[in-house]
Symmetry: C2
Subunit: 523 residues, 2 copies
């Protein structure tokens, strides 16, 4: 059994803390270093950390920390079915949705890998029937659009993945249905999406593990109203993705129900039926299988007991070093791929909801910093926006770049001797070096201090496989950081109080502060 | 003449720094405070700061700081045409695009208010002619779509405003043309937008002040190719928004050219022709005028020499207090309105590019923190995502909520006794109180410390006027903070080095670090 200890009780962490050794990027940057400081990832991706403030000495200390913290042992326990989510007394099984890393996990009386595979097989068959016109609307016409109704984990991941692969699918002839997403309780969200589609040819997927998520149930009502107003039977247009014990599970309100379970956290549910249904309908189940295969390949690498061969573990360790030893407060995720426009928003959830905590697994306060603020936008757009602060601001923000050699459409123009794709790649390369090395100028307003750390994940092209690998990389990075910080990364008690107070406001059970704030909105 | 001094030389700042007085939100929160700590804004908006860590004593010190820093005097100099952007030797005239606050400003030999009004009048006439079918495509058919090609300041603001008003315009019968935006040098961005529209019925607006922005010129090439491939004459489908001295200004490649000038910074250009052209085409020039009127009303309030009546100034002072005295590193912008989905991204640019700096107006390093990291997503979505960290994380992140009593469509459903709009408002109210007051629990994993500061801007509905007022509020807040920090908020030298290095990569003028990074992308 792995031992769960606070970070600041570990000998290797004390060594790190005591070490005054610091790496001055401007002094160490060389071409050799760029070649050397790279770890292969799944699906042809590579994690290059040459512009991070580490060297062999720091890496040695971080490797010791990984060992003492028994990261590999903890991951093994997790994928073999230990109750890692202690607060909610649940297993953490999202890896099983895409592969079998260890032993069979039997829970709720079933083999969980078989359960997840079985649900995906049901989804695949359903999607095939929709695509082949065997499941149609009442007039026997094909469905052309799929709309996901969900929020948080049921929205951000699947939405980010859909956007990431939409153009790739268009180019490769597998954009089989358009996908739309309704999430916010703001009524304008549902109304706006419903106005943009042809409801008669749309399938709606209601996604809620508990079947009780307020936003999702209210948005279901909008959809049902729209279907009824169009003279349609909602039960012929709606699916549910939920847990087997939820009120949605066996309801005749839905054409079909596909299941996840309590061992899949919402923010880790993209590779379960939560992502599987909408993405299989949009792109075909084969594409979703390729996405899962990429994630599974990344998971296998995450099980290697050596951070120099395990990019997720190394990324986690360097991030911890930046947060706890160097004292940085935020991390920016900067994909040089427009298709990854919403990927930072998904990682923001995955990371900040998992590790934005102040108590350890045993409910005791911790005396060290935990998860950072995560934000980001695609480059080159960000360059013309907030990069000013990243280059010359008073606070250092570590950067996580992502880039691909090839575009998704493969359509390009040659201007001033280079394609747009080459310009895009040249820009990310230039930014890394500008951040790390800076440039001296006598006019201090034009001076760049440099010494601003970044890493880059490089791939050939954003495909279902590489996207799956990318997602799993970050999921596993966050998991390892949770292990290091001794957190329960798989609950989210911090979202509860707001829900309770919102109910009180709606029930008019308010006084004092809450009543006066409610009065601002005439509630 | 106002005196420009570093923040840490001001007596009032030294008093603030020396004061050990701190406000414990949990102890001070009362209904009375919610009623009292509110400042009216333009267009029926109100800035409520009851949940900020201030009291009359802190507010008194901040008011002293505003006075000693001569914020009002500096703003007066700015709108009266002083050369505030010292680095680039330019005036700062975006307020003149929407109103006359002070004296006539004569620059480049013309009255600048008349110049901006004149350009908007030209745009209005052009837009009317398009809407009335007097300007058509070669087949005499109406244009139905307008596509903005720009990046950074030419993209984020106009895009955020379009998204903010699209549904309002649809409901009010003034969505006259669909608007799309192409920004990234990633070729997939242009190709994706071009695939989504009917180019034969589209007008394209090329927006670049200098006429040399790389991303914008490459994206123009994509558009021209697409038009030519469709057998169309690009010069009959394209407009330019640029400066009079740019290579685009008098080119026969464009149906028309509308002008801004060097005294309008990109990130402050939404109320100039940069926003005017696309928004007047999309919604009609009357709607854009209403947006300008809202901004002008907010600008007038920003000129009041008392932070307790000047919400932008007070917001700036409290933000400075949080950054420099309380030591917070980031600020989250959280609009409870799906229509403001991209408004945080625009503010991220406006704020981080303006005040993400380490040297003062005179090119001397400053010894205090300047602009924070800005990020955000709409609520309630964010609640199901990163709010976990905001509630229970190790670092405190000040919050800026925005909410409206009414939705834009006015279409709603009643579930469990309340509409979605009421639920949306109840949630933002609940969040403010949860963050400020917390809730004790013996199980520390379910404990909320509280003491997490937020403010909220409340309005009746997101309309052209209130959106204009909201935008101007934040522009003016950022300006006042730049005054306090003694920064030049209107240049962006931090974006230059990356451009230089990218050119070297594309010219293969690389060695060492840069060459090896380029090799990762096979450049």
């Amino acid at each position: 059994m792995a031992e769960w200890k606070n970070l600041d009780t570990l000998k290797a962490y004390k060594t790190l803390e005591a070490s005054g050794h610091r790496v001055d990027l401007k002094k160490v940057m060389t071409g050799e270093r760029v070649k050397k400081y790279s770890v292969p990832m799944a699906c042809g991706l590579a994690y290059n950390f040459a512009s991070k403030q580490v060297d062999d000495e720091v890496l040695g200390m971080l490797t010791e920390l990984a060992k003492e913290s028994d990261l590999t042992g903890k991951f093994e326990e997790l994928y073999n079915g230990a109750m890692i989510n202690t607060g909610e007394k649940r297993l953490v099984l999202h890896h099983l949705t895409r592969g079998q890393l260890g032993k069979d996990v039997i829970a709720d009386g079933v083999n969980k890998r078989e359960f997840y595979k079985g649900e995906q097989a049901k989804i695949a068959e359903f999607a095939k029937n929709v695509h082949e016109g065997k499941i149609t609307n009442a007039d026997g016409e094909k469905f052309t659009t799929v709309v996901q109704i969900g929020i948080g984990g049921s929205d951000l991941g699947p939405r980010a993945i859909y956007i990431a692969l939409e153009n790739w699918a268009r180019t490769n002839g597998c954009l089989l249905m358009d996908a739309k997403f309704i999430s916010n309780v703001d009524p304008d969200d549902a109304v706006s999406v419903l106005k943009s589609i042809d409801v008669a040819h749309s399938l709606f997927i209601l996604v809620s593990k508990s079947g009780t998520t307020l936003e999702t149930l209210t948005n279901e009502a909008f959809v049902k109203n729209a279907l009824k107003e169009a003279g349609l039977d909602p039960s012929k247009h709606m699916l549910a993705v939920t847990s087997e014990t939820s009120p949605l599970a066996k309801s005749s309100d839905y054409l079909a129900a596909f299941f996840m379970d309590d061992h899949i956290g919402g923010r880790y549910s993209s590779s379960s039926a939560v992502g599987g249904a909408v993405l299989s309908l949009a792109f075909g189940p084969e594409i979703f299988e390729r996405f899962l295969a990429g994630a599974a390949e990344a998971d296998k690498l995450a099980a290697i007991d050596d951070p120099m061969q395990n990019a997720a573990m190394l990324d986690a360790l360097i991030g911890l070093y930046e947060r706890n030893i160097l004292g940085y407060e935020a991390t920016a995720v900067l994909p040089y791929a427009q298709a990854l426009a919403r990927f930072p928003a998904h990682l923001q959830q995955a990371d900040m909801e998992s590790n934005g905590k102040s108590v350890n697994r045993f409910g005791e306060p911790v005396d060290y910093k935990t998860g950072p603020v995560i934000f980001g936008e695609p480059g080159t757009n960000g360059q013309h926006s907030f990069y000013q602060l990243l280059h010359q601001g008073k606070s250092i923000v570590p950067l996580q770049f992502i880039g691909f050699k090839e575009s998704q459409f493969g359509v390009d123009v040659d201007i001033q001797g280079s394609t747009s794709q080459k310009k895009l790649c040249a820009n990310v390369v230039a930014q890394i070096v500008a951040f790390a090395c800076g440039k001296e100028d006598e006019n201090l307003n034009k001076n760049f201090d440099g010494g601003r750390p970044s890493s880059i994940i490089v791939g050939d092209q954003l495909t279902p496989e590489s996207l799956g690998a990318l997602l799993a990389h970050f999921e596993n990075k966050i998991m390892f950081q949770g292990f290091l910080w001794n957190l329960n990364s798989f609950d989210q008690e911090g979202v509860q109080l707001g829900k309770v107070l919102a109910k009180r406001v709606l029930a008019h059970e308010t006084e004092g502060t809450l009543a006066e704030y409610a009065a601002l909105f005439e509630i």
